[in-house]
Amino acid sequence: MASASDTVLVNRIKSGDEKSFQELVNKYQARVYSIILGMVQDRNDADDIAQEVFVRVYRFLHTFKGKSQFYTWLYRITMNMCINAKNGHRREKPSVSLSEPIDDRGTPLGSLLPSQDPLHRPLDNLKNTELGGQLQEAIDSLPSDLKKTFVLREIDDLSYREMSHVLGCPQGTVKSRLFRAREELKQKLSPYLDSLEEK
């Protein structure tokens, strides 16, 4: 992660350069979106929260003094937004599940809609499999602290030290949370993992 380049971008944005903001969004959008997706498990919510994260970054960038790495600050905002969303602080929007049947024959709404951005969602095959669904369910069932530590590690490969800055806890806690999260996931997914092993 090139922190010097982040610093340059942040300084340019502070002096009013909108192009640099676009560059910063492009650089982090996938990581932020994936972390949120791991936390909230719903694409519509993840879209909404990810947009709000970057709006907040833009609005409050003047408060970022550069004492820590930019991405630490960004991920902290991301995590807080996810927690707020989970706690129901966000406005509730009526939503219809894509798997919900909309007629007598049980046709799901999702099957009638064209798939979105197929080029950017190449892994939809796995996402829509039973295994993908089970994995998402298993991650979602983790306690909040374990979930955010696990998601942050797997999505962005942050070191334990970096994660301790983002999560505001000692490295030892990061280590034990990851261990516990993986043990729980291993247990919940054991039928699938055993079958993978056999192949």
């Binding site: 959008q29 947009q51 993992l193 092993e197």
Partner: protein, 155 residues
Amino acid sequence: MRCKQARRYLSEYLDQELPSRLCRRIENHLEVCADCAREYLKLKAIRTLTRNVLIEDPGPHFYSQVSSRLRENRATRPAQRRRLLGAWSLIPMPAKALVTAGLVCLLFFVLVYPHLVTPTLSIEDFQQEYVRSRDVLPWGEQPSATIISFHSGRG
């Protein structure tokens, strides 16, 4: 290295967070212990699957969505506040300093000053208190009659 000890370190080994010496010991153990190697492969599989399922790009239109949300955000800010701030920025610096100093003085006299001054008893209240105390207090503790005449300007 025993299996129990090795399994405690597998998560950190996967994350490459172990010192190199311990790493080599784990590697040696995994080469000879099929059960632990299987456990390690499960952890690796969870990582691969998680990345496959979760890592996703919100698409090429994401920035334009953020940008339009920012514009909305700006538009909904109270226009009056912006006008006031605009007017304030037009005022020359000495005038700003004068207005600020005036406001500080005003706040001081309204909020702080009344608490600094000790309350005084008006002469009428004092007279009433004096008359009341004459009936209640014994003779030795009664206030002198000269006090009342001095304060009322009749002395």
